[in-house]
Amino acid sequence: MQNKVPAVELRHITKRFGFKGIVANDDISLDIRRGEILALLGENGSGKTTLMNVLAGIYFPDEGQILIDGREVVISSPKDAFDLGIGMIHQHFKLVDVLTAAENIVLGIKGKLDLQGATEKINAICKQYGFEVDPKQKIYDMSVSQKQTVEIVKVLYRGADILILDEPTAVLTPQESDKLFNVLRNMRDDGKAIVIITHKMHEVESLSDRVAVLRGGHYIGDMVTAETNAQEMTNMMVGRAVSLNIDRPEPVNPRPRLEISDLTVRSEEGILKLDGVSFTANSGEILGIAGISGSGQKELLEAIAGLQPMERGKIEYIWDDGTRENLIGKDPRQIHDMGVTLSFVPEDRLGMGLVGNMDLSDNMMLRTFRRGKSVFTDRKTPHRVAENVVEELDVVTPNLATPVRRLSGGNVQKVLVGREITQAPSVLLTAYAVRGLDINSSYTIYDLINRQKAAGVAVVYVGEDLDVLVELCDRILVLCGGRVSGIVDGRTTDKRELGLMMTRIGGGSNE
């Protein structure tokens, strides 16, 4: 047993960025073994992704060595990493949109281009592991989870036996995650070495064999999963004791704020995305939206926000005095001009909610730059708002002039949520508000959402983590294939019931 050489040994890896000498990885030593699933834990910005990028050949370490099967190697490009059997599935997909799945998978592989043969091999891999990929489908036609599947198949196709997955389940439904985990377990039993970066503790507990914890670029330690628990791991990550309970205060004086009836939306291709959806969102209440990804959550929120043309239906805003006003056919600006402050935290943060290349202040300005009659923009107020957001939400950033795309995923999300909440909304729409966020940040976000609820905001919370939905939301609307499968009370429902409703309208019988 002792003679088993680790698949990968990272020794004293140090990686610095920029001129200011930010140390992303500080003297980190870590072993990755075959036949084992290693969970790499750490808060946003603790250096997990950087460390794995070093292994995958994206970054070259400033100091330290990498040993593969006991032999020192130099990984100076992703190709070197591939040649050593290291495959990484990134958080942000690296696919060419206009090519098909098969073309993306063979892209960059040397030798004669044999799409026919590749397609067969892809189908074989899919069959072996239970993936569903149409090799001829173009990437731009794919959902987020399909794209991820292509990424994983791509790595397997190239024969990787050391797999790194950077927050793979962030975009998957519980069912899809379970499927993925089964695949990963099979691969582990097959003798592959697997590293998974995740923030979801229950995944760490159910999947991994060993956990390694990073904090602030330092290596804190590793543990056998079976001998630890979520609380201990969280404390190690954060560096102090944290509470893992989500508050759910009673709604204060809930009144109907938004009434949606018979909302029907077709995509540009004519596919029915929402079919006769009706519900009411109350002030001072959190309405959860559950559903398998692609069940119409995106279209629902975008329709309310005025970004999605619809076929029929009504979206009515109800003022405090009971008068109703239709939001249909109004764009975000017209809704805003009505005096309705509608905040929206979209799923695709950098693609829709923020501008990646702009700095924090300029991103704060997005919502408010039109204010005032002057032809010039007011830069001072957004700057102050940015300062506040950074301070209150503990955004880790070198300074306010940093482009937001340079921040880590969790910090990007804090900037976005922070901005949307600063508007003092009457309706807050959030899509996967804590996706990719570490425990600490997630709880900050839950707390912020609860504070909005206490302030009388009607919150619509689209979530994927059923545990959180059940703990946080007052009511939960379950979508299934674009239709309302049911609306349940968050205090009395459970995960199992939601899961059933997600896959079948009404969730079957309850006997």
């Binding site: 001129f19 764009d331 693609g351 923020l354 290349n357 730059f369």
Partner: protein, 365 residues
């Protein structure tokens, strides 16, 4: 047991480089370009390098007249560069500056010829300004409208509009040719000087230079501090984000291209009304394309564009001077210009990337 070798060098992306270091790299590139030009010229002509540099210098500053011509050339190039910049910030690749300038010049010429007997001089000049702006704006607005409405490719569209403009100008040159059958217009209103922009302080080119200077400052303020400028930046970065905050993307695209085309039209007007007083199909001398480079090198910053346009005009005139004074073919100046541009554009690589050489002494554990 260490048999792994670190590669001789590897390339990594740089973080944010302080601006002065960036310009240091660019400065080195210019220096290297001058050395390379001198070496090539030495090999071809056998002249000593000092006299070659002297020639380059005298091409631009050899006489007051040359200096004025240099600054006039910079002004026109800068004007077109400023014009295409708002579009570039919006990620709308307007490479139709050439055509937009030409139609601006055409409109100017039309005013000078058709209105000279109708309106007083100031009236003609006013019409020239308005007409050239409208002509350029229309030329820029057409591709923008198609892009906003049907998502056509703006690069191809603006490029093709150039050829239409050239043919249009060729047609009107025949209509207005003096004398008949000459195939060219010649100097317009040579006697009356109607429609010629006024000469101030005895310097023919000063007005152009001052106008472009004012445009440069205005553009800087517009792009960086106005709400329009902010909208342009947001649309350029992400159309979806722009829609999300309620910016009317179609309107911003068309509005910005009207501005871009209109300013190109002004450049054409300055060229015809201010300096050349004639119209040819090649009057723009490729500035519409050179402007793309000026704008990019300056990272779309109007103030830096003063420097980049100076650099390019200075080196081009130097190269031209070398080939004439050493009795070489015009193509030789093209070669030198090519060398210079190679170095300048190549320097951007060193600004964005860092080359790390193998650590000299690496201690093994």
């Amino acid at each position: 047991m260490n048999n792994a070798k670190e590669p001789l060098f590897h390339i990594s992306k740089r973080g944010e480089l302080p601006w002065y270091k960036g310009w240091l790299v660019r400065g080195c590139a210019v220096l290297l370009a001058l050395i390379a030009c001198a070496v090539v010229t030495m090999l071809v002509t056998g002249e000593n390098p000092i006299s070659i540099y002297a020639t380059i210098w005298s091409g631009s500053f050899g006489s007051p007249r040359r200096a004025w011509v240099l600054f006039q050339n910079i002004a026109i190039l800068l004007c077109v560069s400023l014009a295409v910049t708002p579009a570039f910030r919006m990620r709308f690749w307007n490479i139709g500056g050439e055509g937009q300038m030409l139609v601006g010049g055409l409109a100017t010429t039309a005013c000078m010829i058709c209105l000279r007997d109708v309106l007083p001089n100031w009236g003609v000049i006013l019409c020239m300004i308005v007409a050239s702006i409208i002509a350029g704006a229309v030329w820029g607005g057409i591709p923008a409208f198609f892009k906003a409405r049907w998502g056509t490719n703006e690069t191809l569209f603006t490029l093709m509009m150039n050829y239409i403009a050239t043919q249009l100008v060729a047609f009107f040159i025949i209509v207005w040719e003096v004398p008949k059958g000459a195939g060219k217009i010649g100097i317009i209103n040579q006697q009356s000087e109607i429609g010629w922009l006024p000469v101030i302080a005895g310097q023919k080119y000063l007005l152009n230079i001052l106008i472009v200077g004012a445009i440069c400052l205005a553009m800087y303020v517009y792009l960086n501090f106005s709400k329009h400028g902010y909208e342009i930046a947001v649309v350029g970065e992400s159309e979806r984000t722009a829609r999300y905050v309620g910016i009317k993307v179609d309107r911003v695209i068309v509005r910005t291209m009207l501005l871009s085309g209109g300013l190109c039209g002004v450049a054409g007007m300055l060229l015809v009304g201010g300096t050349d007083h004639t119209l040819t199909t090649t009057i723009t001398a490729g500035r519409g394309f050179t402007a793309v480079m000026v704008s990019w090198l300056a990272k779309f910053n109007p103030i830096w564009m003063v420097l980049t346009s100076f650099l390019i005009v200075f080196l081009q005139r130097g190269a031209g001077e070398i080939s004439t004074s050493f009795g070489l073919d015009q193509s030789f100046s093209d070669i030198l210009t090519g060398i210079i541009l190679f170095f300048i554009i190549g320097s951007e690589f060193f600004i964005n990337y860092k080359i790390n050489f193998r650590h000299a002494a690496r201690k093994e554990a």
